[in-house]
Amino acid sequence: MTPACREIRKNILNASRTSGHGHIPTSFSIIEMIAAVYDTMKHDPKNPQWDERDIFILSKGHGALGFYAVLAQHGYFPVAELNTFGAFQSRLGCHPDRFKVPGAELSTGSLGHGIAVAVGMALAFRLQNSSRRVYTLIGDGESNEGSVWEAVMVASHLKLTNLSIMLDHNKSQVRSLPIPNPAERFASFGCDTIEVPGHDLEALKAALAKPAANVRAVIADTTKGYGCPTLSNNVFEWHRKSPKPEELEKLMGELNAA
């Protein structure tokens, strides 16, 4: 784990402890994925509406705390603001609101929407002969939604090479409807598919930078609660839970050792 990604996770734990909210395990599974996107794409934290920016859409909106923590790390807003997560007048709701969060391009929450809006944006950039790119992060649970596959079919049919779909394959759906071999599934839908260790920042960045013959699908093999065995070994207990003071101390210790 890089020092920056460890710091992001600590900020998430503190924000969850302070606010009483947070999907911590799912946020921990996507940190390197979002960090890789923000290390790769064109963006300007001082000017979030920059005309030439690339687009990132967190389609699995319940990973908002992880998203906010990466945005804060990049300077979109102060790290201390993370502690307002979910509060009545906070800008940082438990799902992102594009009118409130600097850097959020789409308000998401209901699953299976963001990826299809991302397809529309990628098509728009092609029509504009623009070099702008679109990145979207979806979950394996989200991939139970039929609209995900509608979007993938359209994107691959249109050969939207300016779109990268990142799957957070954290295996959360073992409890209901798992996708046994997601790389095969996305490839069969026409995607240029790469499998990557989902917590290897450099491997993720290399996958995103590699030219693609069609819409790029990055299948990131991730672990819910990555970095804290207490979380990763008890994902159902910790699915939507805020740590008590003694639990926070233990989790911070586990992060330091990771």
């Binding site: 594009r98 009118f99 391009e105 789409l106 308000s107 929450g109 209901s110 299976g112 929407h113 299809a116 809006v117 991302a118 397809v119 529309g120 944006m121 990628a122 098509l123 728009a124 950039f125 029509l127 504009q128 039929g146 609209s147 509608e150 979007a151 079919m153 359209v154 049919h157 249109l158």
Partner: protein
């Protein structure tokens, strides 16, 4: 009316390079000339209505004025959440244009009937909802609203009325104002039947092509009269009753699926929306 939709968008596309057409595998032969003339702005994207709406929102987010078009129930009822969130909540505009209103696909049965679209779409904040009654109304309303930056609904019909009248988005029209004690209010192509039904009856007649925003000022002028709302869908009666203190009754759809085939005229007759059925309902209202 579908041909007018194509003709209008074809002409707009020539003037405005932000116009993009997305079809859900319907009307694609009709749009042949559009496709030939503007191949990069025409997409027969397939039978995937949820994605069609979200993609429309994405195009709008990046400055385009998209038109998305397919069969009414599949684009509106099936994709209600996409319209609500991706277009409404995110405030990404775009033009939703459907064919197969109410019982236009009568012969296809209840899976292809659609009468809730106007009612549910007008509940979405920021949405504009129109029910053009003929080609002229459709052409005027599209030109007026297609790049308003809001999600906007245009409901096409197969059997438009032939009444010429001034058309302005958001404005109703008093077609008959005799100072009568009863006012008939209606919207869209059913106007043909309503006119025949009440030609010699002592009533006022008010017509709407825009259900949201509804023309409250015009409605309020008839507050002192007994109102009967005649409509072959849900939504108009509810919109009219946003004006307080009205005395309205609704003559329209029953609380049951219309499980017959035939034509739109057959079904209208069976549920009392043919001229005779409407006339009987209006006479009852007069005698109430």
């Amino acid at each position: 009316m579908r041909k007018q939709f194509k003709d209008t968008t074809l002409e707009l596309a020539g003037k405005d390079d932000k116009v993009v057409v997305i079809l859900g595998d319907i009307s694609h032969f009709l749009f042949n000339d559009f496709q030939q003339k503007y191949p990069t702005r025409f997409y027969n994207m397939g039978i995937c209505e949820n994605a069609l709406i979200s993609i429309t929102a994405g195009l709008s987010a990046q400055g385009f004025h998209p038109f998305v078009h397919t069969i009414t129930p599949f684009l509106t009822e099936r994709s209600l959440e996409q319209i609500k969130l991706d277009m409404g909540y995110n405030r990404f505009g775009g033009n939703i244009v459907t064919t197969g209103a109410s019982f236009d696909y009568a012969w296809d049965g209840a899976t292809h009937h659609c009468y809730t679209d106007l009612a549910i779409l007008r509940l979405i904040p920021g949405m504009e909802v129109t029910q053009p009654g003929n080609k002229q109304e459709l052409d005027t309303l599209i030109r007026s609203q297609y790049k308003n930056g809001k999600p906007t609904y245009f409901r096409l019909y197969d059997h438009g009325h032939t009444v010429a009248m001034p058309i302005e988005f958001g404005k109703g029209v008093a077609l008959k104002d005799t100072g009568a004690a009863v006012t008939v209010m209606t919207a869209g192509p059913i106007l043909t039947n309503v006119l025949e039904a009440c030609a010699d009856l002592p009533v006022n007649l008010v017509y709407f092509h825009t259900l949201k925003p509804i023309d409250k000022e015009l409605i309020a002028r008839y507050r002192h009269t007994k109102i009967i709302v005649v409509h072959d869908a849900f939504g108009l009666h509810e919109a009219i009753n946003e004006v307080p203190d009205l005395r309205t009754v609704y003559h329209g759809l029953p609380d049951q699926f219309c499980v017959w085939y035939g034509t739109v005229h057959d079904i209208r007759k069976n549920i009392g929306l043919d001229p005779a059925g409407i006339r009987a309902a209006i006479q009852k209202r007069i005698n109430d």
